[in-house]
Symmetry: C2
Subunit: 503 residues, 2 copies
């Protein structure tokens, strides 16, 4: 078999694996949207069967042979050619999957499954001790996983690489420390400011059916294509790309929380626009897939925060919102509405945090999981370390562990190395937005007219259509002239909140 | 490998195949309910991949070996034991799949796919000539299929067997002729009757949201379990059993057609109750599956017609319906409402036909496809033969072929032998209902009180929980003392319509 034939076969298999995985995506979407409760047990059997079939095919030694054939040819001479990129990333996935012994994979599956149940119970009981044994095993197994995968510097890197290929904890630590040094004082300044926006506006009565219609209208207006997508309700919102032409976003409505569903929709719209912007002709291959979780999150955060919580956005949308939510907004000014959705205040729960403090929540988790992976911090001492950091960075301390170190699902699910991608998303969002704003001669003016197509086109061309041609940091470097950099984010936050809080 | 081990492995594979097929069911359900239009192409790729994986596993020669091992053992000594039944039916499926050469399967898939497109166009153009070449090829291929599958009497039998295992066209011809001899005069008598129910009541304004709530309420009240099922909207209503604990029914709403959605829901509820009544411990094996399309249809027709269009049903539900649909029903009496939903009138379109004439529509198709399979009737002469039979049995003639021989999707999709199961369903429904009514000392009294549990329990015990232990005719014989028999249906229709029309 010549190299070209090997490459073609590799691509055929890659597409088939993606199509198979996409069947699981649809089953997963249904599980969280429409499946009746009685279907849960059978759904687990369906997903288990498909996962097994996928794993068997994804670790087929034939794939390794095909990769070897292409890698030793001149087909990959140009490292950013479609061929070289696809081979690079297929090799990465194949290695990650085949380096892990089956026993470890199974033990991790068992332990995280039990861990999830223990987490639910521990959180309910506010009892960290309940989760401790599982969590200790999980961190031990994840260290083993990292050893199998290999790393240069620290074990944590091997895990981060799953979500953010190529990112290193050392670089992240530098980036996050720089961010922390700017944000901690900023949060204090804001807390001390005399101006206090009225956050209660967000908790007036916003009827759910109107929230849905308004949310869909805005989603459509910023470019989400409902002929190639849907918006549904769920408990834990997510975006699922079922396949080219089928991107599904979800949200959760509360009639007394306007911001939850609305910015939740815009967040998922950001993910969805990325998915809808991928090149369908590359579907099922790395060139048709998103770069990393960090870049994915940059898209969601950009539409949610940089765009959706901006003054110019509401210059256009507030008069419409006031017609849709007449009773809630009749006596509210645009400025008060804008300030109300931009309250900054130290809080204990990450998923409810504002745009500024959110990064400190993430930073705490990043520092803690880095220490846990190194065994610098024994798992048993996690609650104390958690509370200490919350006091140190945010000036507040959880009253109990359910609003402290038991709040997130990630660790008990074995998702170590996932948290940093949230803040990477914010960093990339500010960086990319700054460049788009400069390239396009200012975005606030078109936004104020309800025109969001300039930004979307720019993102499609610079980010979406590129697939995995570049790793995240390289992509940022190519587009903005710099790898991930905290300064655009800090600058943006200072300018925005300096004005809102008069500091 | 001993016989027991072979049997266990057979069952493991059978369950796995069912679980795999159930993933396709969910994808199919989604395709017809929520999938955005842009997802169609990828959905075809997903379904194609899963179908290929399923076919590969279902025709694995290892299955044949395992079947052989068990068949030559004494594990199947008792022919109605779980083991023997599962082996009998798994053998049947395996043989049907492996007897067909791959080339024929592929040619049929291609031809029916093109046939479907030609049918859509031909129907739109009202031009039978457009469909003729495809239809000729399809009947030729289906004759080849029958030859591969084998048969004793006529080729048609091999095709009927796919939908109604064990049924023979000769017996069906006898049954249908007997039915025809009773129904043709009955339809004429009804047409000549002086009493004419006011059918316009059904076409008043019934708001869709209220139709949905009323339909769900009734579905739940007769026993459909919404914790283990759903009701959604679709273009072409169907019931899909995704797996144990997950049964999904669908309907289509028209604010000016009360009967369409309401009896559509009850029809699918009938299918759904059968699905929900199967033994979950036998899931994925023949003992946990429905007997045949005819028996399945007996359940849907029973709830739709025998129960749902009965006077006692509306004794309970009419006062409630009148509150829900105040504007439409305020000046309507229960008797007029009951008569309005039971208008009998010769018409051209099968799917809109009433309970009595419906069987004549099916009979015409049965006679025609039997003749087409024998080549007694050349496909080119189908339109003439169709119109002649409509004139002969129903006294009306289509104005064009779209309301004549182009109205149904079945033949162009290669579904030959499917039609007779519709009338078999009506025959079995009357037979089973008559027996239940006798066993339970009369059902109209509990129905009038809104109690449908007696009938459902009886069906669960006598039909649903049996899975495929007995073939359809044997099941009828065991329960009612007779194989399919036209008399209970004729008796029921004569009694009901004799009273409504005063004849």
């Amino acid at each position: 078999m010549n190299a070209q034939a090997a490459y073609d076969e590799l691509i055929r298999r890659s597409r088939e694996l993606s199509t198979l995985a996409s069947c699981s995506s649809l089953l997963g979407w249904d599980e969280q949207t429409y499946m009746p409760p009685g279907g849960a047990e059978h759904r687990a059997a369906q997903l288990g069967l498909l996962a097994g079939m996928h794993h068997e095919r994804a670790t087929d030694p034939k794939l390794g042979e095909l990769l070897g054939l292409v890698e030793s040819s001149d087909l990959i001479a140009d490292p950013i050619s479609t061929t070289a990129v696809n081979v690079r990333e297929l090799r990465r996935s194949y290695n990650r999957l085949t380096k892990l012994p089956r026993t470890l994979v199974e033990e991790l599956a068992r332990t995280t499954s039990r861990g999830h149940q223990e987490w639910v119970a521990a959180r309910h009981e506010r009892n960290f001790g309940r989760l401790l044994p599982s969590l200790e095993t999980i961190f031990a197994l994840k260290r083993q996983e990292a050893d199998c995968l290999g790393y240069h510097d620290v074990a944590y890197d091997a895990l981060i690489d799953e979500y953010e290929p190529g990112a290193k904890s050392k670089d992240l630590a530098t980036l996050f420390a720089a961010l922390r040094n700017e944000l901690v004082p900023l949060v204090k300044e804001i807390a001390a400011a005399k101006k206090k926006p009225d956050r209660s506006i967000m908790t007036r009565e916003f009827p759910i059916d109107r929230q849905r219609i308004f949310g869909e209208t805005v989603a459509s207006a910023v470019g989400f294509d409902f002929r190639r997508g849907r918006l549904d309700s769920t408990e834990h919102p997510f975006c699922s790309g079922i396949g080219p032409g089928d991107t599904r976003i979800t949200t959760r409505y509360d009639p007394r929380q306007f911001a939850d569903a609305f910015f939740g929709i815009l967040h998922e719209v950001g993910h969805g626009l990325y998915d809808q912007g991928l090149d369908p002709s590359h579907y099922g291959t790395p060139m048709g897939e998103a770069v990393s979780l960090g870049i994915h999150e940059s898209q969601s955060r950009m539409w949610e925060n940089v765009v959706g919580r901006s003054r110019s956005f509401w210059t256009y949308w507030f008069p419409i919102a006031r017609q849709v939510f007449r009773e809630a907004l009749t006596d509210v000014s645009r400025e008060d509405f804008y300030a109300s959705m931009n309250v900054v205040e130290p809080s204990l729960i990450r998923v409810q945090a504002d745009e500024v403090t959110y990064n400190l929540h993430v930073l705490i988790r990043f520092e803690l999981e880095a220490a846990l992976m190194k065994s610098d911090l024994p798992v048993a001492e996690l609650p104390g370390a958690w509370n200490e950091k919350y006091q140190h960075y945010l000036g507040i301390t959880p009253k109990h562990h359910a609003e402290g170190c038991l709040q997130d699902i990630h660790w008990s699910a074995g998702l170590i190395g996932y948290f940093p991608t949230y803040t990477l998303g914010n960093v990339y969002a500010a960086q990319l937005y700054g460049k788009a704003d400069a390239d396009l001669g200012g975005l606030s003016e078109p936004f104020a007219r309800g025109d969001f197509s300039g930004l979307l086109d720019w993102l499609r061309q610079n980010v979406h259509i590129q697939g995995q041609r570049f790793r995240a940091a390289d992509l940022a470097q190519r587009i903005t002239g710099s790898p991930p950099d905290h300064r655009p984010l800090v600058k943006m936050l200072k300018a925005k909140y300096g004005e809102i809080y008069g500091i």
